[in-house]
C-alpha cells in the first residue's frame, strides 16, 4: 500500500512470473485481474528473452506510454524467486516517480525476504490454483 500511496498509480498487481496473482489494487473484476496477469507474464517473458538475445541479460523493466494511461512492468527479486509488478498510471504521477518508488519497493522486498529460503511451488498448489482460476474464468464461482 505504501508503494501505491507514494507513487499514485491507479492499478497495481503483484504476480509470480507464472502469472499467478499475489496481490492487486485497482481492479474491480477478477476476470480483468487474471487477463492482465496472463498478459503481463507473457510480456515479461518476451522482454526478458529479447534482452537475453540482444544484451546477454534479460530486460527487467518495461514502460509503455499511451495518450492518457501508461503501464510500467518491473521484476522484483525476492527470496521466493522473481515476481512481477504491473502498474497502470495516468498524469497524476510520472514514470520517474513510479520507477523511484518501484526501486524502493524492490529494496524493501529484498530486505524482507533476506534469510528466507526459496521454496519451489508445489504441483498441488499449481493444480488447485489452476482449477480455481479456470472456474472463475468460466463463471463457476
Amino acid at each position: 500500500m505504501k508503494f501505491i500511496d507514494d507513487s499514485r498509480v491507479r492499478i497495481a498487481v503483484l504476480l509470480e512470473s507464472s502469472g499467478r496473482v499475489l496481490a492487486q489494487h485497482g481492479f474491480t473484476r477478477s476476470v480483468d485481474v487474471m487477463s492482465a496477469c496472463a498478459l503481463a507474464a507473457a510480456i515479461h517473458a518476451s522482454a526478458a528473452e529479447i534482452g537475453r538475445q540482444l544484451d546477454g541479460t534479460p530486460f527487467t523493466t518495461l514502460h509503455h506510454a499511451g495518450h492518457e494511461r501508461q503501464i510500467f512492468l518491473g521484476e522484483l527479486s525476492t527470496g521466493k524467486g522473481a515476481h512481477i509488478l504491473l502498474t497502470v498510471f495516468d498524469d497524476a504521477t510520472s514514470i520517474g516517480l513510479v520507477r523511484l518508488y518501484f526501486a524502493e519497493l524492490s529494496r524493501r522486498l529484498a530486505g524482507a525476504a533476506a534469510g528466507m529460503a526459496a521454496a519451489p511451488p508445489t504441483f498441488a498448489d499449481f493444480e488447485s490454483d489452476l482449477n480455481r482460476n479456470l472456474a472463475k474464468l468460466f463463471g463457476r464461482i
Binding site: D91, T93, S94, I95, G96, L97, R99, L100
Partner: protein
C-alpha cells in the same frame, strides 16, 4: 558518451559556490534529460521528485490565477532546491546553505530561457 545541448549550461550552474548538482528534467516524465551532479547525489530520485514538485506548483499557480511559474525555491535545513521551467523542461539545482541564491536565481532564469 555524446554531450547533450545542456551540458555547458549545467556545468556553468554547477560551478557556482555551494551548488552540488544541476539537472534538466522532463516535467511530464520526471526523468533527467541531462545532469551534472557531485558523487553522493541521488540524481534519479531528485529529478523525479523535483519535476513532480514543479508540476504541482504550476498547477497551484494556475488554479490561484497567478499565471505561469517562473521560479521555485525550496529552503531546507542544510540547503535547498531551485527550479525554473520552460514548456516541459525544468532546470533544477541542489545547493548547500552557503550558496548565493540571488546570483543562482539570475543565472537559472537566464538559462531557463535557453531551454528548448
Amino acid at each position: 558518451m555524446t554531450k547533450t545541448p545542456y551540458a555547458e549550461l549545467l556545468a556553468m550552474l554547477s560551478r557556482h559556490r555551494g551548488v552540488v548538482g544541476s539537472f534538466v528534467v522532463s516535467e511530464r516524465d520526471g526523468l533527467a534529460v541531462d545532469s551534472n551532479v557531485q558523487i553522493g547525489v541521488h540524481a534519479e530520485a531528485v529529478a523525479a521528485l523535483a519535476a513532480s514538485l514543479h508540476r504541482k506548483a504550476r498547477l497551484a499557480c494556475g488554479a490561484a490565477g497567478c499565471g505561469v511559474v517562473t521560479f521555485l525555491r525550496l529552503d531546507a535545513e542544510k540547503g535547498g532546491i531551485c527550479a525554473a521551467g520552460r514548456d516541459d523542461l525544468v532546470l533544477v539545482t541542489i545547493s548547500e546553505a552557503r550558496a548565493n541564491i540571488g546570483l543562482l536565481r539570475v543565472e537559472m532564469m537566464r538559462a531557463a530561457k535557453a531551454l528548448t
